[in-house]
Amino acid sequence: MSPRLVPAASDPAGRRERPLTITVDGEPLTGIAGQTVAGVLLAAGRPAWRRAPSGAPRGVFCGIGVCFDCLVTVNDERDVRACRRRARDGDAVTTQSRAQGDERDGRRAR
């Protein structure tokens, strides 16, 4: 199994779920209001979305904005740390890659 969201019904914190939809490279993913972009991706069963220079996959590592493994583009804003950005309904997320020759190569835009 993959990362997942604790079901609201059994959550002792007693929380509400308001669904939202973002797109990731054009594909719609649903999450709930308050989740980070990384949280939405993980709970949707995607443990990785970025590529390191060798092409190796990267997702969340530190979870608190330190490692920069989780970088994505959100609505044309490059290099956003997915673990720190709250997802907003309608956000268009584009994944990034630092691999040579990848059309999403981050270094060109740096």
């Binding site: 190796a56 996959p57 590592f61 330190v66 709250r86």
Partner: protein, 502 residues
């Protein structure tokens, strides 16, 4: 009222206590945190949009934290700057001019501000330290803190067959949070052997009773792990993670006191997530930018490692720079109660509070107990020096640039590359987006025989800033509170015991 303007960076247990005490002493306070809500790592809160009816269900000491954060954030002399990052500190021409200017990016979209405080309290905390091992860069391998932040902060669990590994008591709350959120925790794997743990925790047990809050909390974690029959394996370490595109299995092995692997003791376990933490690395870029002296960690066999440094402070939490104070995890890893006590002392003194205040004696005592606790932690859970034995030549050391162990060794052996900066350019380790926050301590340790000069915490900017933001002139601080009512200094209100009783 003292009329002093105290800027507090970080609203974790230390920063919040500092703001509270500075307000009590009559100062005007600007409290800055890059997060949306106060609490820091320890009191990580659910997002507002979750509208949690019982947020305290997931936290120790929530009630007194909640009381304090309402008191501070609602105070007429406090300006609360959420979602604001301090990206640089600018030293003034002469030290007599006071603490450095504080450069802040505030809110979304981010606006630039420059603050000119009379005193500056740095309470920016720490992040997990993770030693590399083959496969540690596979997706599904998380820092222990990441698993904790996701579970406590947004109710996402990282997997269903999880191993929590590394060293230190922090592994226990992480495993507990995962259990609480419904994961199966297969084991907690602690590299320190039973002898080291016993030496640290069982010697002079009366010292521990003074940290009742903390050890009581630890007992509750242990009880919970026991109820769920989660094995706590001491003297073992995760030495490899394997999988095709994500972690599928891990190899654990018995390790000796120096963390060298006992051959033949390897064991393979199927997992869908691995959470690792080998202690904490203080976030030192702001203290370093302010010019604060650092000190090596006390005790532990890791003493002398260039990776183990903290901000040096005196009994008043003063750093070596005039007007600059430090509190919490950046001065030593001792847990939340000690961070709170340090913060309260720092805030009170930074605000010009009376040094004879009776509460200060109590606070000072609990701060000292916290320091003793930190020394014990270091003794019970030192990082064994033989850990590089886990590495293979092609193991990635720098996750950003994918510099391998072999490349780091080559540069460490090269006599023309004794300068860390030269080595950095040659290997690219530490030049990627994270600016060596993750690999810096590791590289420093692997090069410990070669390196001269600057440590791993020199970074020109503490937070990434975009060129467009830099080009715009800073705006005058808007929300800075104007004191409406003259304040009467009271006393620093913290008794760290307060927090553990709720």
């Amino acid at each position: 009222m003292t009329g002093r303007h105290v800027v507090v960076v970080g609203a974790g247990p230390a920063g919040l206590a500092a703001a509270d005490a500075a307000l009590a002493a009559g100062a005007e306070v600007t409290l800055i945190d890059s997060a949306e809500r106060p609490g820091g790592q320890y009191h990580r809160m659910l997002p507002e949009a979750y509208e949690a009816t019982d947020p305290g269900a997931l936290q120790h000491g929530y009630r007194s934290f909640d009381r304090r954060s309402r008191r501070v954030l609602g105070h007429p002399r406090c300006s609360w700057w959420a979602e604001s990052s301090v990206w640089a500190l600018e030293r003034r021409d002469s030290a007599d001019d006071g603490p450095p200017l504080v450069h802040v990016l505030r809110g979304t979209p981010r606006r630039r501000h420059v603050l000119e405080p009379d005193a500056l309290v740095l309470a920016v905390g720490a992040h997990d330290r993770v030693l590399p091992f083959p496969g540690w860069d596979l997706p599904g391998v998380y820092t222990a803190g990441a698993a904790q932040a996701l579970a406590k902060g947004e109710r996402v669990v990282v997997g269903d067959r999880v191993v929590v590994a590394g060293t230190g008591p922090f592994l226990l709350p992480v495993a507990t949070s995962l259990l609480e959120a419904g994961s199966r925790v297969l084991a907690v794997v602690e590299a320190a052997g039973p002898a080291a743990v016993a030496r640290g925790w069982l010697r002079r047990p009366w010292e521990l009773t003074s940290q009742l809050g903390k050890s009581g909390e630890l007992l509750s974690y242990t009880a919970r792990l026991g109820r769920h029959r989660v094995p706590y394996r001491m003297g073992r370490a995760v030495v490899e993670a394997r999988g095709d595109g994500r972690v599928e299995e891990i190899v654990t092995a018995r390790v000796r006191a120096d963390w060298s692997v006992v051959p033949g003791s390897e064991h393979v376990t199927a997992v869908d997530a691995l959470c690792v933490g080998h202690g904490f690395t203080p976030q030192l870029e702001l203290p370093v930018a302010a010019g604060c002296d650092l000190r090596p960690a006390a005790g532990g066999s890791a003493a002398g490692s260039p990776a183990d440094v903290f901000v040096s402070v005196d009994d008043d939490q003063r750093t070596s720079r005039p007007g600059v104070y430090a509190a919490g995890e950046i001065t030593g890893v001792a847990g939340a109660p000690a961070a709170r006590a340090e913060g309260a002392v720092a805030g009170w003194i930074a605000a010009g509070g009376d040094r004879g205040a009776r509460a200060l004696v109590t606070l000072g005592r609990s701060r000292d107990q916290g320091r003793a606790f930190a020394a014990r932690l270091a003794l019970a859970h030192p990082v064994g020096r033989a850990w590089p034995g886990w590495l293979r030549p092609d193991t990635v050391i720098c996750r950003c640039e994918e510099t391998t162990y072999a490349a780091v060794c080559r540069s460490a052996a090269d006599p023309t590359r004794t300068e860390p900066q030269v080595a950095k350019l040659a290997t690219r380790a530490g030049l990627g987006p994270c600016q060596a926050r993750v690999c810096g301590p590791t590289v420093a340790e692997l090069r410990r025989s070669t390196d001269q000069g600057a440590g791993p915490h020199h970074r020109p900017v503490a937070e990434p800033i975009r060129l467009g933001e830099l080009a715009r002139p800073p705006e005058p601080p808007p929300g800075r509170a104007t004191p409406a009512t003259p304040a009467t200094p009271s006393t620093p209100t913290d008794s760290p015991a307060e927090e553990s009783t709720s």
